[in-house]
Each structure stands twice: as structure tokens, then as C-alpha cells.
Amino acid sequence: MRIRFRFSKLGKIRFTSQRDVARMWERALRRANLPMAYTEGFNPRPQLSFGLALPTGAESLAEYVDVSLDPVRAAEQGIVPAALPAVLDELLPEGLHVEEAVPVERSKDSLQQMVSSCSWTMRLVGVDRVGLGVMVAALLAADTVPITRERKGREEIDDLRPSVLALAVADAVTDAAVDPSGRTVGLVAELSTRPRGVRPVELLRGLIAVSDGLADRPMDGLAATGRPGSIPVLDRACRTEQWIERDGLRQEPLLGRVVPAGADRATHALERAS
């Protein structure tokens, strides 16, 4: 029996890593006395499968974990998936909140392999709305956006552009990404996981890279002055959805809520965030 949980990760706990969160789940599941299925071998581990790894420091409204239970013992204990979120919520650390749980079929691909894109909201400092708007337009207009990133200890140049499915400055009137203090500027994005996932900081590097190429705009160096053309710094990032795309339709992984993969992808993410 496999149960898929959807949970959020908000607040101070965002500074823990994906592996840390996996250990928190293992401990909470043991404390809940759930009959977990274990891997075979010398070093048996509980069978947990998480969605796409969340970068340390990022918040999320849309984390998923698949938990495999021993079917015989689960039946004996009369496990009801819908009752589990409340139980686990009590046992997980503050900042992790379990929203829903449903039984899912075993499938060939892991959750991590199936997720095709993620929606993000970000808050940036060191840039104003106008400056950020110019950067966003430049990135969307570019054919390629090469960025350098590290992979297995080696620096490689990747093209970011194909991974950016949607990108927009947050709308000051309606968007959750807008900081009420006015200190930051909101950015919403949908980023593909293929060929490789893109982290918010990498998107930011891409924005800076394309702006460097804008010869007609004066850049005022590294100073985070908030004036147009200055360098934006990521203040907060929150993943608002993970998507599984099938036949041109995007599905939310837990309940399979279907959303057409249309043009207005990024703003949809904010429906969850608000």
C-alpha cells in the first residue's frame, strides 16, 4: 500500500535540507507507529520517495512524499489515509504541515521522475519593478541564456532558456508574491525540470546574465541600490506547485487536479499561494 502526502515547508525550517526533511518524516512515521515497508538488504530503510528536491532555504506549499506500507499489517491496523495528516502533523516539527493524504497506485516511475515542472514565487531585493520588468522581458526574448553551474564538482555551461516556461513580475494588486512592506519585488515563474531542474538562484543568475548583454542600459555594478539596472538578490523563494504533464495537461500530483498547460502558467501558481 502506497500513500502520497502533500505538505508545506514554511518558516525557519526552510533552512533544513531535503535529506533532513526525509529524516524528520522517518522519525514521525515511526512515532505514528505506521507499518512501514522496508527496503531489502543489509541496511533496510523505510521506503520513502519524495518529489523533486527543494533547495535548502526555499519554502514550499507543494511538497510530496510517497510512503510504502506493509499491506498486511496496514490492513490489520485498519489504516485510513485520510486520518493520517492530522496524526503526522502533530509529530512533525513546526513548519512542516501535512495537508492531504491519498492512496496511490504503484507506478514504474518515481514521483521525482514524473514531475515535469514547478511553479515558484520569489521576492527579490536590490531591484525595482521597472528594472526587473526589463530583465524579465530580456530573458523571455533571448534565444539562449547560458549560465555556469556546478555539476559533480565541475563547472558546466547550461542553457537556461528552455527551462523557463513562464516568467513575470508579480502584479502589485493581486499577487501573493508581493511583499506588503514594499521592500521587495515579486517574481513568479514556472520552471521545467527537463533537461535539468532550475533553482531560483540560477534563474536569478540568468536574469543578471541577460541584463549584462543589454548594452543600452547602464548597469551600476554590484551595489544593491534598488535603482533600475542594479543587481537583484533573492530574499525569499517559495515553490507553490509541482506539476506532472501528460498529453498537454498539467496535473497536481496528489489529487490529479488538471490545469491546461496554457500561456498563463505562472500566475496560476499564485492561486495556491494566496
Binding site: 515511526r30 512515532r31 509529530l91
Partner: protein, 671 residues
């Protein structure tokens, strides 16, 4: 108190492992600070991952927070990147729970587990915004305290720490809190301010206040005495000892961190103290006598702890866990407990070297994620008699045989080099032993690894070896090379060694007197923090600081101390009579071993008689099997049996039954 979180939060995006600084552990307490409670900041002066599991700190954390007139939070050394950010933005040292500034607490109390963290202690006091030198502090500053094993030579830190606490902290921490409450929690505190408070603290048994003592030096520069200058302050500060571990079932709510730390598991203390009498071992000497926790309480603490934490591993801790009365029943009780569903593994961190112990380990270690580790410490029987680690070679081989035959493929052996009277034959005996262990392993597996881990010996205070002049860096390096060359042709044998330079630095601080404080301060001022970490350790910082103070490695580290010499730690006591230690030192030089006093008559070391306490052991019968029991014939320890276990296993390793079947297994084939 004000929370610094708004200033801390922006720093965390830029530093490594930011979750070190957020608190939020299961078991963390959100305390209220108010005028009616003494506020304590309990500090471990190393990284969060190293410091969080410290059981001593967690015990005091709970005991203090159970009191209505105390409130305790915790802090750990920020890593170098975080420290740089904090200094750049003016964020002081803070508590991990409430992110309260350290200087706002009544007490900043350090756990001292190792000497090389001393520069971190200074750095953290400074990062708190508190004057580093005790003499510069005023009524508005916190009291800086320190406890833990290193407090048994407090002098190197005497200029920086207001008061030291010796021995078990469970009882004395409350008495200290009473004194502090009298000064800090009443509308009209007693007159005299800080110095009156420190004088009052110096009268609490087990508390040493350096500023209440005069230090005298002779014309030759040697220390001649440390004597109290205030009435009621004791000439000799005796350590505190709790007589009944069962009365202190702590930690009740062990902290479960959000990030991975060392010893990331449930820990339950089986007993405190050890009377094996290993002469190099400071822990064994200063924690006497043996006090066992009742078996029923161990069971309860394990069951409740696993249930509460969700851990799948429990360590039964002590200085030699296999010596616990009824260890077998205890561990089988845990693994057979139906609530553990066969998914809990038990580890015994300090294995005794014999086949019996391995049999127990095999039974309980569901997950064989690591190799087994044994600590023969010396390469020859002669050497092991000198250090009183009375393991016969056949016991080591039987233990290793049992380990390999039961599925382990990696065995690690701990040794010391630079021990008193050590010859090259003793040093090379390490390779001979390890080579034999590889040969045993080859009978069971094609590919086995034996790692001999070699540490340089640092003589520790309050032990029989406190008079011994430490080996020089050059001598230790020469011995390491001897070992490395001898081990090179042996396939399957790896030698690892501790940097002899770090051994020297540890020696500088271990036995220093109060003048060593200036050296520690200079090393810190020149940037020498995290000296326990090889990437930041720098011997030049230490030798430069020594030279600047007119001191030498020769005098501070390599020199043998004499019987009539006043030792800088003579005025603090772990209960051991000086003449017992001196006699034990003479016995060591005469290669005379001393069996465990739990099962043989008393040697009058002083630990029991001086404090009117006794060993608390459930069983008066020495543990079965192995040379470390009693009644053994110690004259034959060096003899290696001609042949042992002639039959190679066929297929799966035989499952050991409960008890001594592993011993039988290893003994059967003996020629």
C-alpha cells in the same frame, strides 16, 4: 530579552548549514526570562553538529528548566562563515531557541570536553560582547562558568572563566542557581557586587573560583602554590559525585535535532565511572567510582525514549558498556520488545576486547552499517601492562575472529604511540597484531580491511601519567613512519594516524599553569579558532605564542614532572590520592598490571573512601569471558596461541545464541 532573529535571518541564506542556527529541535524549550529566574546560556564551544548530542549539557538543560527559578537556553560555536557575517553586521552570540543575545543572560556556562576548543571559548565570550578576561568584567556582565572533564586542570583558562565546576553537575547546578538567585533575582541583592557573588560561589562544594586564589612562583619561575585568599574558600576543591544514578533519569527528553549530528540516535547512560584502571585514561580516573543505573530504569528510558523520538537506534553509553551487570538481558530485552518491531538497533560504543562482547554485538546490531572497533591501545603485552590495559593477544584474536566469522568485514583497532617506556618493538607490535588480524579475516572473506588508528599520547592531569614527559613531534613522527613502512607490504591493513603537531598543541594546553592563558589568548587573537578541525589547526600559532611568552615546547610539553613538583592542578581534586597516583606511576614503570577493583580488594585510590561512596553494581561477579575479567593468569598475556579456529565457515555465518556461544565458537578450534 530581545530576539535577534530579524538580524540573523538575512545572514542564513549566505552560510553553510544554516539550520545550525534555527533551533526547533524536539525537546527544545521556549523559556520565559523574567526577574524571578536565573537565566543560563549553556554553551558547547564547537559546531552544532558536534555539540548538540552532548549528554552532560542536555542533562543540565533539563534540570535547570524544571526549576521555577531558572531558565536555560543553548548555544554552539558559529562556523567561520557565520561568525564573519555576524561580526560584519554586529550580531552577537545568540541562543538557538529564542535567539536571545548571550550577554543578556546571567550565566554563560561552557562544556569543556577537549583542550583544543579553548580558543573557541575565548572567541565565543568575545562574540557575546563580554570582556574576554574575567578581571575586566563588571556587575552588568554574565558570570562565565565552565565544567566538564577539562575542568580538572582549570588553570590555563583561569584568566577567562569566573568559576569552574568539578565532577557530576546534577546536584551542584541547583546549589549554584540558589546562590545566583540570591544575587540576581531579589530587589536588594547583597552588597559587594560581582566579587561578593564570586566569593559566595567559591564556598559551594565543587566550585573553583580562580580569582579567590593567589598563585605563587619561585625564583626559578616554577609554580610554588595556589592558595585561597578568602575565608571559607577551600584550599583544595573536591569534585562532586552523585551516589545514585537512578535518582537522575536524565535526559528525559533528549533533544532530536532537525539536521544530522554526530551520535544521531537515542543515548541512554548505563553507568558512570570505570575502574578498569587504564593509566592513560583520564575519563576512567576522574569519574570513579562505578555507579550503575538500575536495569529496570534503563529499560524504561529506552522504551520511552524510542517512542518519543522516533529514533531507530539506541546507544547504551558508558566507558565500557559490556561491563554493565546483566548487559545481555538488557540488550535482548530491547531487541525483543514487540514495540520495536525488529527495526531498532542497539549499539555499545565502548566494546571490551573479547569474543563474548562480539557475540553480544552481533546479536544486537541489526544494521551492520559500520565495522567493529576494538581498542588494544598497546602493541605488546609489555606495553599493555605498563598502561594497565590488560588484554591478552588471544583475546584480541578471538574477538577479531568472532567479528569476521559473524559477517563483519571491517575491523578497526585503536592504538596509542608515545606511551611511557615505549620501545620500537612495542610500536612495531601494533603492525604485528594488526597483520595477524588481517590473516584471521582472510579465512572468512576474500577482502577484509583492518585499520589501525594510531593516536599520539598526551599525558592527562589526575592520572598516573600526569608526570610523564610527552614524546616530541619528531619522535612521534618517526614512530608513525616506522608503522607506515612496516604496514606497507601488508595487504588489507591500513594505518591512520593523528597529526603529531596537533598532539603537541593538545599537550601545551593540557598541563599548563595559569600563565598558559596568555598563550591561548594570543593564539585566539591571531585567528586560531576551531583548532580541533584539521583545516584550521595551525601549530605555528601555538609555538609563536609560546615563544612570545618566553615558554618552550621542551618545558611545557616534553619535560618529565618530578615527584616533589607542585602541579598546577594540585588544588583541585578528582578524589584520587596523590600517593595512589604516584604509586600507580611507579607500578607502570615496573610493568605491573592492576586488576579491576570492582571484583578485587580496594587499592584505596581515594575515590570511594574520600567521599563516603561505594561502587554501585548489581552484580558482584566479574563478566564472563575475556582477559579483562578477574582471576586471570596475567603472566601469559603475551603468548599467542599456535592455532585458533581451524575450520573455515561454510556458507552463512553461524548465528550466535544468547550468551557465551560466541566464545565457544572461537575456542573450539584452538590447538
Amino acid at each position: 530579552m530581545e530576539s535577534l532573529w530579524p538580524q540573523i535571518e538575512p545572514l542564513l541564506a549566505q552560510v553553510s548549514k544554516p539550520a545550525r542556527y534555527i533551533g526547533g529541535e524536539l525537546g527544545a524549550q521556549q523559556v520565559e526570562h523574567g526577574p524571578g529566574a536565573v537565566s543560563w546560556l549553556l554553551v558547547y564551544p564547537d559546531t552544532y553538529e558536534v555539540g548538540l548530542p552532548n549528554q552532560g549539557l542536555q542533562i543540565l538543560y533539563e534540570i535547570l528548566n524544571e526549576r521555577p527559578d531558572a531558565a536555560a537556553e543553548r548555544s554552539y560555536a558559529p562556523w567561520v562563515d557565520m561568525e564573519a557575517s555576524m561580526r560584519a553586521t554586529g550580531v552577537p552570540l545568540f541562543s538557538v531557541e529564542g535567539h536571545h543575545p548571550a550577554a543578556a543572560f546571567d550565566v554563560i556556562a561552557f562544556n569543556l570536553s577537549a583542550e583544543l576548543v579553548y580558543t573557541n571559548v575565548l572567541n565565543m565570550i568575545d562574540l557575546a560582547g563580554v570582556p574576554v578576561r574575567a578581571a575586566d568584567r563588571t556587575d552588568e556582565h554574565p558570570v562565565v562558568m565552565a565544567g566538564g572533564h577539562c575542568a580538572f586542570n582549570p588553570e590555563p583558562l583561569a584568566d577567562f572563566v569566573d568559576c569552574f565546576v568539578l565532577g557530576d553537575g546534577e546536584e551542584v547546578v541547583g546549589e549554584i542557581n540558589d546562590v545566583l538567585a540570591e544575587f540576581r533575582c531579589v530587589p536588594t541583592p547583597p552588597a559587594g557586587g560581582r566579587s561578593a557573588l564570586l566569593t559566595a560561589l567559591s564556598r559551594v562544594p565543587g566550585v573553583y573560583v580562580p580569582s579567590c586564589y593567589d598563585v605563587a612562583y619561585g625564583d626559578d619561575g616554577r609554580l610554588t602554590g595556589i592558595t585561597p585568599r578568602t575565608a571559607g574558600t577551600p584550599e583544595r576543591v573536591e569534585k562532586r559525585t552523585i551516589t545514585d544514578l537512578g535518582a537522575w533519569p536524565y535526559p528525559r527528553q533528549q533533544l532530536v535535532p532537525l539536521i544530522e549530528v554526530v551520535h544521531d540516535r537515542l543515548n541512554v547512560e548505563l553507568f558512570r565511572g570505570c575502574t578498569r584502571g587504564c593509566r592513560f585514561c583520564q575519563a576512567g580516573m576522574i569519574t570513579r567510582p562505578v555507579r550503575e543505573r538500575p536495569a529496570e530504569q534503563v529499560r524504561t528510558m529506552v522504551a520511552a525514549g524510542l517512542e518519543r523520538t522516533g529514533y531507530d537506534e539506541v546507544a547504551l553509553t558508558s566507558l565500557s558498556s559490556a561491563d554493565y551487570s546483566g548487559i545481555e538481558e538488557t540488550v535482548t530485552g530491547i531487541i525483543d520488545d514487540p514495540s520495536c518491531s525488529g527495526q531498532v538497533s542497539v549499539s555499545l560504543p565502548s566494546l571490551r576486547v573479547d569474543a563474548f562482547t562480539v557475540g553480544t554485538a552481533a546479536q544486537i546490531q541489526r544494521v551492520r552499517r559500520t565495522g567493529l572497533t576494538f581498542a588494544p591501545e598497546g602493541g605488546t603485552w609489555r606495553m599493555r601492562q605498563v598502561i594497565n590495559k590488560l588484554i591478552r593477544e588471544e583475546d584480541l584474536y578471538a574477538a577479531v575472529d568472532a567479528a569476521f566469522s559473524q559477517g563483519w568485514k571491517r575491523v578497526k583497532l585503536y592504538f596509542l604511540i608515545g606511551l611511557p617506556t615505549e620501545t620500537d618493538e612495542d610500536t612495531l607490535g601494533i603492525v604485528a597484531l594488526a597483520k595477524q588480524c588481517v590473516a584471521i579475516g582472510k579465512r572468512y572473506h576474500n577482502s577484509v580491511t583492518v585499520t589501525a588508528s594510531v593516536g599520539g599520547f598526551v599525558p592527562k592531569v589526575q592520572t598516573p601519567f600526569q608526570w610523564f614527559g610527552q614524546n616530541t613531534i619528531e619522535e612521534l613522527t618517526r614512530k608513525v613512519h616506522l608503522l607506515r613502512d612496516a604496514a606497507r607490504p601488508v595487504r588489507g591493513l591500513t594505518i591512520r594516524w593523528h597529526d603529531p603537531k596537533a598532539t603537541a598543541a593538545e599537550g601545551i594546553v593540557s598541563r599548563g599553569d595559569r600563565r598558559m592563558g596568555a598563550v591561548i589568548e594570543q593564539v585566539w587573537r591571531n585567528g586560531g579558532t576551531f583548532q580541533e578541525w584539521s583545516e584550521y589547526f595551525d601549530l605555528d600559532l601555538w609555538t609563536d605564542a609560546l615563544a612570545a611568552q618566553g615558554m618552550t615546547l621542551e618545558d611545557a610539553v616534553y619535560r618529565h614532572r618530578t615527584e616533589d613538583e607542585v602541579l598546577p592542578w594540585d588544588h583541585v581534586s578528582a578524589g584520587l590520592h596523590r600517593d595512589f597516583l604516584w604509586q600507580d606511576w611507579k607500578d607502570a614503570l615496573a610493568e605491573y598490571g592492576l586488576p579491576d577493583c570492582r571484583w578485587t580488594p580496594c587499592y584505596d585510590c581515594g575515590a570511594c573512601t574520600g567521599y563516603g561512596v561505594e561502587h554501585v553494581v548489581a552484580s558482584a561477579v566479574p563478566p564472563a569471558g575475556g582477559s579483562q575479567g578477574t582471576g586471570q593468569d596475567l603472566s601469559t598475556g603475551g603468548q599467542v596461541p599456535v592455532r585458533f579456529l581451524s575450520t573455515a565457515p561454510s556458507g552463512a555465518a553461524p548465528a550466535p545464541g544468547p550468551g557465551g556461544s560466541a566464545v565457544a565458537l572461537a575456542t573450539e578450534g584452538r590447538g
